[in-house]
């Protein structure tokens, strides 16, 4: 039974032009804002400072030095090992996600530099079936860590995921164990792993690779938690605190090292990496 297939694979193209319409309305303050200004401002509302969603491409561009990205992902896409179908067959769901995002899977993986420090970086795409981790993402993350070891450079992973991909069932669950196993090799080799949690970092991704960073940074506004708020509330029949599973909640409960505003994320990552890299 195959869990990958290799057709319909395409490389990530960072030059793809974004949506050309000029204006958008901020959901937070209701103001009409000029799209280009929003983009130039890291997708932060120039009027009220609210964060708009970043695609994996935009996130990648916001963190790395211009023009340094090289796609190093494996040429694989998801197969349908369980013959799974809910409201639509799983292969169709994957196909639609590929069309919507222009990505072969829910993760971008490549080499790049961050403030001139070479890294291997993976960025999850939430719009690709909720950024869920199936066989392909698991394999790409492991491949990224192995490349980081081979190149002797830090591994950076930006999570934005609802968790394990339910449509691949047990194969998704296995990825959690797989990425955790390969992560131990990074540790043995003394290769730093910086985990960046963004909105949202939940379920099986939080319960595996995202929580295993040598240093864990959360973007301001990230949702961080294992079981969903609704599931917990319906199970224990209790109201949950207002700040439940927020960035502040995670910081107060020791789950993460720091909360960083989006506009400072790149510099902060660079500062942190320099402490690891120049030490050797």
């Amino acid at each position: 039974m195959a869990i990958f297939k290799d057709k319909k694979y395409f490389r990530v193209d960072l030059t793809r032009k974004p949506d050309e319409s000029l204006w958008m309305r901020c959901k937070s303050c209701g103001e009409l804002v000029f799209k280009r200004r929003v983009r130039e401002n890291n997708n932060i509302c120039p009027n009220c400072g609210a964060y708009f969603f970043l695609t994996a491409r935009e996130r990648l561009e916001s963190l790395i030095d211009d023009g340094t990205f090289v796609d190093i992902s494996k040429p694989i896409v998801a197969d349908d090992p369980l013959g799974f179908s809910d409201t639509k067959p799983y292969p169709k769901r994957v196909e639609e996600a590929q069309e919507k995002t222009g990505l072969p899977s829910a993760i971008i993986l490549g080499s790049a530099t961050v403030t001139e420090i070479p890294v291997v970086i993976g960025v999850m795409e939430f719009q690709f079936i909720g950024g869920s981790m199936g066989s392909v993402m698991g394999e790409q993350i492991c491949h990224g860590m192995e490349e980081a070891i081979r190149r002797r450079v830090p591994f950076v992973l930006v999570s934005s995921s609802g968790g394990a991909r339910v449509q691949e069932g047990i194969f998704s669950l296995m990825q959690m164990a797989k990425v955790a196993t390969v992560r131990t090799r990074l540790a043995e080799e003394g290769i730093p792993f910086i985990s960046i949690m963004t909105y949202p970092t939940t379920g099986g991704v939080l319960a595996s690779i995202a929580s295993l960073g040598d240093v864990i940074i959360a973007e301001k506004g990230a949702t961080i938690g294992f079981a969903g708020r609704r599931v917990i509330r319906d199970t224990i029949a209790e109201e949950l605190p207002e700040n439940f599973q927020t960035d502040a909640f995670a910081l107060a409960h020791g789950a993460i090292d720091r909360v960083v505003p989006r506009e400072e994320l790149k510099n902060e990552l660079g500062r942190l990496l320099s402490l690891f890299v120049e030490a050797g």
């Binding site: 929580s211 107060a252 020791g254 789950a255 402490l275 690891f276 120049e278 030490a279």
Partner: protein, 216 residues
């Protein structure tokens, strides 16, 4: 008048004379030199005959530099890390990575507060289990990347509280001792104020001369 006040008075007098010396062109340098000599002698006398309690008071003096003051003065690029990854983050222990003469080191320090507000946050420098577990996590991180560990000790003791017992503070301290005994990277510990009880030994290098910390 306390001896400390006498010292302050002498210091003020010397400062005053120095100012006068500048303004009037009168030569007071002989007088200044005499007073300075007296000040040094008095200070030496005072601090060489301290009673035990006076020593403790000196160790707890609010004008002493605290861990974050030392970190600011000694290190560059301090990058603070938070949390024990288990249940909380304890502000009574600060920890992170920093540079010392270009070398990356891990720094762990017990942190007191100066104002009431600060002390509420820092819990008067009395760490909770979460603080010790954060310290342990940073030690292991340092070991992984061969960063030396520098610890700054300044605590009246571990926080005696219900939650601390519920979270097994005894285990937190014990495992830190085990961790430091095994750690494959150097640990240098300095008592910068007071080192009370298990609360101090929990981040103290096994080679730290134990008389610096007293059993509580």
């Amino acid at each position: 008048m306390s001896d400390e006040q006498t010292l302050d008075l002498l210091e003020a007098k010397i400062k005053e004379l120095r100012e006068l010396n500048k303004i009037d062109g009168i030569d007071l340098s002989a007088e200044i030199a005499r007073l300075e000599e007296k000040l040094i002698a008095l200070r030496k006398e005072l601090y060489s005959h301290l009673s035990e309690w006076e020593r403790v008071k000196l160790a707890r003096h609010p004008d002493r530099p605290y861990a974050l003051d030392y970190i600011r003065m000694i290190f560059e690029d301090f990058y603070e890390l938070h949390g024990d990854r288990l249940s909380g983050d304890d502000p009574a222990i600060v920890a992170g990575l920093a540079r010392l003469d270009g070398t990356t080191v891990a720094v762990i320090g017990e942190q007191k507060g100066r104002s009431m507000e600060e002390n509420k946050l820092r819990n008067f420098g009395m760490p909770r289990p979460q603080g010790y577990r954060k310290a342990r996590r940073i030690m292991r991180l340092a070991e992984r990347f061969s960063f030396p560990v520098i610890t700054l000790i300044d605590t009246p003791g571990a926080y005696p509280g219900l939650a601390a017992e519920e979270n097994n503070v005894g285990e937190a301290i014990a495992v830190n001792l085990e961790t430091m005994a095994q750690l494959r990277t150097p640990i240098i510990s300095t008592v910068i104020g007071e080192g009370g009880s298990g609360g101090a030994i929990a981040i103290a290098s096994p080679t730290l001369f134990s008389s610096a910390a007293r059993p509580g």
